[in-house]
Symmetry: C2
Subunit: 315 residues, 2 copies
């Protein structure tokens, strides 16, 4: 039985929506995982009762503080050691949890990931990723989507390694094709960072590098399974994909493909390159999104992704 920690106080609509989502996830993980809810125990119990949920399906871990969405991440994380978020990271680092998930303050989640859990040996900078839906029905992993706004070429190169292991482990792709997000196909195109990263990727024995990819092919599929960029560019790409969904929704356009861009389907993004499974949910998470986030945390923990990334970094 895996123990998945869930920050009950994290997210714009916490704790109610988080608890409803956790109850949904619990149905699907019954017998596979224990959900440990961190937060205000009275509130959690009360909300469970109001919604006809037996609080006994969860393990509730009481915490006296809440790290709010708008707080400055580094300061708040340091000064609220008994917040549901800081406590979750602490339990994860001490081995009392097998994974931790929160839709709370994203910046603080990144702080906890590197300070309390810590990077794997050999990882220069951890990163976060998103699975972008493709027109052919598949998905493409985009990384980094916001952790490292200034990434040097060796960091971009390492994202390609992290993405390769993720695609193999979580997406079930044996030999993932990796492309570099760029503004032209040719090797000399792009900025100083991508030009250097191109050379490193081209010479890599580990990464199956297929060259540069332009953003007009972002949803086409077939060209790459993993798309590498820095966190500034990747975050803008991801947000622009959200714009695609909202534009079409507002135009009254409805297609199954477009619905896959609904953030509720993503659930959450795992932090790659740290010593234990952490999944960051969307701040505006609905119960459905929370449930997806928890299932993603289970997938990451049960797949042994962390161990496989560590193995790759030591090879």
């Amino acid at each position: 039985m895996l123990r998945i920690g869930v920050d009950a106080m994290g997210g714009d609509f916490a704790p109610v929506q988080v608890i409803l989502g956790a109850a949904d996830a619990m149905q699907q993980l019954s017998g596979l995982a224990t959900l440990v809810l961190l937060g205000d125990a009275d509130k959690i119990t009360g909300i469970c009762r109001e919604n006809g949920i037996d609080p006994g399906i969860f393990v509730i871990c009481p915490c006296s503080q809440v790290l709010e969405m708008h707080e400055q991440p580094v300061i708040a994380y340091k000064h609220k050691p008994d917040s549901s978020m800081a406590r979750g990271f602490q339990m994860l680092a001490e081995g009392q949890l097998d994974a931790f998930a929160s839709a709370g303050n994203t910046g603080a989640m990144l702080v906890g990931s590197v300070t309390t859990v810590g990077s794997l040996t050999g990882v220069i900078r951890p990163c976060i990723s998103a699975e972008i839906p493709l027109l052919n029905g598949g998905k493409m992993l985009l990384l980094d989507v916001g952790f490292n706004t200034d990434a040097k070429p060796d960091v971009l190169y390492q994202f390609a390694e992290l993405g390769t292991v993720y695609a193999q482990t979580i997406m079930g792709i044996d030999q993932p094709c990796v492309a570099l997000l760029n503004i032209g196909e040719e090797s000399e195109k792009g900025n100083m960072t991508t030009r250097e990263a191109y050379k490193m990727l081209e010479e890599s024995p580990m990464v199956n590098f297929v060259g540069n990819m332009e953003a007009n092919y972002l949803y086409d599929g077939g060209k790459a399974d993993v798309l590498v960029c820095d966190g500034f560019v990747g975050n803008i790409c991801l947000k622009q994909s959200e714009a695609l969904y909202s534009v079409c929704a507002r135009l009254g356009l409805n297609r199954e493909f477009l619905n896959r861009f609904n953030y509720e389907e993503y659930g959450g993004t795992p932090v790659l390159g740290i010593k234990a499974p952490v999944v960051i949910g969307h701040g505006a998470s609905s119960p459905r999104a929370i449930s997806r986030m928890i299932l993603k945390a289970y997938d990451v923990a049960s797949s042994g992704l962390v161990q496989r990334i560590q193995q790759q970094m030591l090879d």
Copy 2:
């Protein structure tokens, strides 16, 4: 009468499509401008005759060389002084043309813009821009969309000035709101460059700065008339907008708003910050796109944009 130079040999489907587009533009510019077609005079005349166009509606300027789409820009531009493109820039720089437009090799167009025409006094780096369609029916100017892949904060700041003058002069907006494309609303969000640029924009007496804007609001409108970013990020944004159009087209979705993303509607992007009007067309230009490109060149030349930018830079 303005004299607009058109590179008849530039573009994937040149010269036929260029000539058909030029004939269309000529109908709309009759009495306002003379179109000077640069290229193989025999071919131009022959294509005109084959398509029932009187070659006498144009001024044809014979050139013996063609700068091909795939050629290395700097080398090809230097070694083909009698190419239709190099000759067009030469005539523009010498005052024999009032504007020059080409759908040819984009890199070579940028080389000609800075080497033959040259930057205006005080302009650190010229840039290119695109008018992004908004859901409210308006447009937002995005710049830089590909000229400067590594832009320092002072260059980003200057893009805001260039964009402000463009929005005032070409888009008819008196007090354009300028935003910085970023991955969060707060001033401390982003990479090292955007954080520095934010400070400069905030203190600007000239730019009406409204803060950071995230890419999920890209098509919303209302927030900004001008959106500033470096050419690497801007080019990716623009290409991803093309992906929005092609995704919806392939899903059989048809709305007037989406059709505005069709590159044929853009026509071309003027190079901002150089001493004369230059418009770069899309390589895959159809006659309609060529016609739009030429009309854009006319708009830029007749509006006095170059002089207004120079005035701003000297203030």
